[in-house]
């Protein structure tokens, strides 16, 4: 990085900025700023309308300044059986448990790939890569029927446990662990008499913290945003997840309550917006990291 910026300085010093280059720069900033605004604008309109009363919205749908009726709109939602807190806690429970299982067992599987020599190691890894992209959609009928047979439909557990096998995360963890785990640490821990599980839990996991943090964020967001599986599997409104709550906003009871629809939408993504505001730098860095080996 430091090298790069030095070079840029010398290059810039060599040829002075021409008019053409200045115009080009202006165009770049204008386009990028436009795209940036485009990213926020729909959400800003959503938020502003969430704070406006229905008469206010009826007088004009377009406003850029929030009003004061957010809580009135939320009250209307509550009166119509839209319970965002239930969705929030269900989604939180599913996403955090699934993420915990996914990062732990993916790290464990990756560790087995990196540290031990066993006969089917390479076959197993090839297999993991082969099934990495298999989507849930195409196996859903079989999955649902299996749940019927086991009387496990409408159970949050069936949305959590499958996270133990997260092939793409194993792939990422292995790519991370391969160059960054000094094998000597494992050897010396063994000499000190540490058991293999202890070495993994107490020595290797802490080394993997950066990778775990990145993967945890994406796993959490992915699980939180998942719509297909919960929609197929869950039937009782008490178990609804946050994305499922969104579809409740459709339908006639909200036809004219514009403000409360926007309020409902705002509530479904508020946690994500907060998380993103706090962690955006790490998240963007994590996206970039995911491609390094691509």
């Amino acid at each position: 990085m430091a090298n790069n910026s030095n070079l840029q300085l010398t290059v810039e010093g060599k040829d002075r900025p021409t008019v053409g280059r200045i115009i080009q720069k202006i165009i770049i900033y204008v386009v990028c700023t436009f795209l940036g605004i485009l990213s926020i604008l729909p959400f800003w309109i959503m938020f502003v309308n969430a704070t406006r009363s229905t008469p206010e919205i009826n007088s004009s749908f377009i406003a850029m300044i929030p009003s004061t009726h957010l809580f009135d709109n939320i009250k209307i939602l509550n009166a119509k059986n839209f319970k965002p807190l239930i969705g929030f806690f269900n989604s939180l429970l599913i996403a955090s448990c699934a993420t915990g299982l996914a990062v732990y067992f993916s790290s464990l599987t990756a560790y087995a790939q990196v540290v031990y020599e066993w006969k089917f190691k390479n076959v197993f890894f090839s297999f993991i890569m082969a099934v990495m992209m298999l989507p849930a959609q195409v196996t859903m009928v079989g999955f649902l029927q299996m749940c019927y047979n086991l009387h496990l439909t409408d159970k949050l557990l069936m949305l959590i446990l499958p996270a133990i096998a997260s092939p793409s995360m194993v792939f990422f963890m292995r790519q991370y662990l391969q160059p960054s785990l000094p094998i000597e640490i494992v050897h010396s821990a063994r000499i000190d008499g540490a058991r293999e599980f202890y070495i993994f839990n107490k020595i290797v996991l802490p080394i993997m913290k950066p990778a775990i943090a990145t993967q945890a964020i994406f796993s959490f967001v992915g699980s939180w945003n998942n719509l297909f599986t919960p929609m197929v599997l869950l039937s009782s409104p008490k178990k609804y997840t946050m994305p499922m709550m969104v579809s409740l906003l459709r339908g006639d009871i909200f036809k004219t309550e514009y403000g409360s629809i926007y309020a409902g939408l705002t509530l479904t993504i508020l946690p994500l917006i907060i998380v993103y505001l706090v962690l955006s730098r790490y998240i963007v860095a994590g996206v970039a990291l995911g491609s390094v080996k691509g």
Binding site: T109, A112, M129, L144
Partner: protein, 321 residues
């Protein structure tokens, strides 16, 4: 050479067991089950008894003959490609701008954070939000267009097939170009700076550098993006489902939504949905195979090849002696 060894290999197996069991149970078994159901006449919620069809491929023939499925398949491909082309072009443009060594763009971090924002927000909410924005008779977009004098009165835009499809395409592009940009930028930053220096010394201009050095160097990443995006595109569900539920006139119907509607939206045609799933399964597995081929560890394969060659050489020499 007797050595007191402790067999560590077994831990390789032990540590892989949880993954293997969970995969077999939650993914492999459902695949096989779905496959088998595809040959039966299973329908109705809660039924688990399987009766095989007299013509085992009946459901598959039904799938290929079904106009809605064929329409959905074409739709999925059209929506995907019309979102991917502008997405990759925009991402390449941003990449060229952000990695240009002659002029630095400031606040790149902020821009990246903004560009990526739509990607992290729940797709269901985004779809519903856009449906609300385009609402009829009164909605944000309608109000705006009437006020600007473009429309004389508000129009039910979502009734037009191409408008609905266009909005889905726009949402997809808007959600994904930031992600693609970040991936491509990080790919370009990984290119050895010496290559660029050499180009500069040779007097290459920005365009030449971009097309002759940058693009070829990120070829793998571009292919990776293409294949993952295509697989993701073939599974497109949340946005068409929540936005207009495949309407109007199946213009936003995708294959995933078709499967969902067959199996889970009231008609419970499990067997037909399974057959459709398996058709999509084959398509996606073929695409995964391409990805697998792209991602294989080239260095390791080369190393193993070298080792094998050397072993052969060694054996030959031993024979000769």
């Amino acid at each position: 050479m007797k050595k007191k060894t402790y067999d560590y290999a077994r831990y390789g197996y032990i540590f892989s067991i949880p993954f293997a069991i969970a995969w077999l149970f939650f993914q492999f078994y459902p695949i096989i089950y779905t496959f088998i159901i595809g040959f039966t006449d299973l329908k109705g919620a809660g039924n688990t008894e399987l009766h095989f069809l007299s013509n085992p491929f009946g459901n598959f023939i039904w799938v290929f003959k079904n106009a809605t499925f064929r329409g959905a398949f074409v739709n999925t491909l059209v929506i995907w490609s019309l979102n991917f082309i502008p997405q990759i072009l925009l991402a390449l443009l941003i990449t060229a701008w952000f990695t240009d060594r002659r002029s630095t763009i400031k606040a790149q971090g902020v821009y990246k954070v903004l560009f990526y924002l739509p990607n992290i927000i729940t797709q269901a909410t985004v779809a519903m939000l856009f449906a609300c924005l385009f609402q009829y008779p009164r909605g944000v977009v309608n109000d705006l267009l009437v006020k600007m004098g473009i429309f004389s009165k508000s129009i039910e835009m979502l009734r037009y097939k191409n408008v609905a499809r266009g909005i889905v395409i726009f949402i997809q592009t808007w959600m994904w170009y930031g992600y693609t940009s970040i991936i491509l930028i990080s790919g370009v930053l990984g290119i050895s700076p010496e290559l660029f220096e050499a180009a500069e010394v040779d007097g290459a201009n920005a365009w030449q550098t971009f097309f002759k050095i940058t693009l070829p160097s990120i070829k793998t990443i571009l292919l990776f993006t293409l294949v993952t995006s295509l697989i993701g595109g073939l599974n497109m569900f949340d946005i068409p489902k929540i936005f207009q539920n495949g309407m109007p006139d199946n213009a936003t119907m995708t294959t995933s939504l078709f499967i969902y509607n067959q199996a889970f939206a009231g008609s419970y045609q499990y067997a037909k949905a399974s057959a459709t799933s398996m058709v999509m399964f084959v398509v996606i597995v073929s695409l995964s195979a391409i990805l697998f081929y792209l991602l294989r560890d080239k260095d390791e394969i080369e190393l193993r090849r070298q080792i094998r060659l050397q072993e052969k050489e060694y054996k030959k020499r031993n024979k000769g002696l």
